[in-house]
């Protein structure tokens, strides 16, 4: 692949005696919607943590936008435009919905303690613009009416949306979503599919980990499959569905290959 936005090479991560991620390599194409799937314990979240700088890999490299970010700290990775969300919702519970999103603007803005107290004109303008931008993002995900509510009062589905909104405010070049559909009902995950496509149309590449096969098959253009920490398959949804190694990973050893139906998983 020419000029991938993300190139992961031979990433390996061990926890004591367990090899959680074992020489995983793949590329993510610019402006694509790519999914990483695999049975529980396959190492998907560990991989995400390694890519985004939360738990550096033991071996291997991560190249983002032609820059080596393998050992880069999480906040610096985010400053470069790689934003991740978390598997369990991690909202700033006591802050308002609007303020949660405004935190997302951090990497796009400047000004620390001194500026906060002195408040020169450019700072005040930045704060004003920030509110507008945050509102625009909330509108995009459909939470504009809740902007003043305390984040902890939202429904679970709304909280997941808020987390995505917050990440979007950071204007990511690459958005890593860790199980964005977890716990969502059918309507909510349909809306999520629409949102993911909208995000991609806005110029952001989306890489997500997911268990919801329905969502994956509908929305992903490229899928990578992990099992026991190893990369075992890649391809389009159709290719992956028919791949015997994938079937074996999910269903165990079976004597005849069976077409993978979304409902079976």
């Amino acid at each position: 692949m020419a000029d991938p936005i993300l190139r992961v090479t031979d990433i390996t991560k061990r926890f004591g005696g367990v090899v959680a991620v074992n020489k995983v390599s793949f590329d993510v194409e610019r402006h694509s919607i790519t999914a990483v799937i695999g049975p529980n314990g396959a190492g998907k979240t560990t991989l995400f943590s390694a890519i985004s700088g939360f738990r550096a890999a033991d071996e291997g490299t991560v190249i983002f936008e032609n820059t080596d970010i393998t050992r880069t700290r999480a906040d610096e990775v985010a400053q470069r435009g790689l934003i991740r969300t978390f598997q369990l919702v991690r909202l700033f519970r006591q802050m308002s919905v609007l303020d949660n999103v405004r935190v997302g603007l951090h990497s796009q803005t400047r000004g620390g303690f001194a500026m906060a107290v002195i408040r020169p004109a450019w700072f005040r303008e930045q704060e004003r613009r920030g509110i507008d931008e945050a509102r625009a993002v909330l509108d995009k995900v459909g939470l504009l009416g809740q902007e003043n509510a305390e984040a902890s009062t939202l429904t679970y589905g709304q909280q997941r949306l808020l987390e995505v909104a917050r990440a979007l405010a950071a204007k990511p070049k690459l958005l890593l979503l860790d199980e964005p559909a977890a716990g969502l009902n059918r309507v909510e995950s349909d809306n999520l599919a629409v949102l993911i496509r909208k995000i991609r149309e806005g110029g952001t590449t989306v890489l997500f980990v997911e268990h919801d096969m329905d969502l994956v098959m509908r929305v992903a253009e490229s899928i990578h499959v992990l099992d026991f920490g190893q990369h075992i398959a890649r391809g389009t949804p159709a290719e992956v569905k028919a791949n015997p190694a994938v079937l074996k990973a999910y269903l165990g050893d079976i004597s005849e290959p069976v077409a993978l139906k979304a409902e079976m998983i």
Partner: protein, 340 residues
Amino acid sequence: MADSESSATPSLALPPRIARGSRSMRIVVISMAVIIAALPFVASTYVLSLLVLASIYAVLAIGLDLFMGQTGQVSFGHNAFAALGGYATAILTTAHNWPPLAALAFSIVISVIAALIVGVRTLQLRGHYLAMATLALGMIAYTLAVQLTSLTNGFAGITGIAPLGIGPLELTSDLQYYYVVWIIVALGIWSSFRIKDSRVGRALGAIAGNEEAASALGINAARLKLIAFTISAAYAAVAGALMAHFIGFLSPEVFGLDLVTLLFAMLFVGGIGTIYGPVIGAVLIALLPAILGPLADYRQLAYGVILLAVIMFAPSGAFRLIADLAERLFDRSSEGEKHG
């Protein structure tokens, strides 16, 4: 597969946002300002001196609230910075005849340096580890104040500390200290609100809410925690220096663990994270000996009981209660505006 949350972070539960700019809040704040301005005219000399002490504690409390309330961290050792500021001022003005403002500046600088050195490693700790590490630092500072008698005179203390002033203009009366320190407190409150309602304040709130999520959005949590810690240390140093000038005498007892208990009582009685709350807490706690009257000897016991009572029955603190009450009385607005 469960995402491992940092389980060892007993971060403080920040109080829900209080609507600012609402009519009830404006009334509350203006009332408080009027009361503070008018109190010296009705208070006895004893109460006035307690109120000056209250204002000095308020300075400490505002700084600590930035670190513990806004940033959601914990420090059991801020008595160390107060001691550092107090003793630096005392030693420089008595033994070396420095002008008070120069000594004050030096006290702040030395506290800031100490905070940076200490904070760089210590702030990587979280939860009770951070609590105990800061406790250790605070206790070491206290013990050093007691033991390094060649410098500090130990329990005998340093006497004859000159009043605070610029050249011939000195603060000599309680009343003068009262207004000067309360103006400092007001400036502190003003700065804290400016910080809270800004990009960096939201970043601090994010760190308090969930440090990893904050990092995932590009916030350098380590750096911001260190800066907040340093700023709070500077406030503590100022408070220590003011204490030295006001009382004219300095000894280690005032900087022991009792001060830590006192500070927590102030922060929680008032309402941690609310900025006004710790100031109110400082006043209430400082006035306690006056309220106790003949039972003033029991004040330490009272601090403990009050802290426990607040934790059990009013964990959001007095300011929250006042704000809610004012809201009910003065805001004729609908339910929807409650979380402004």
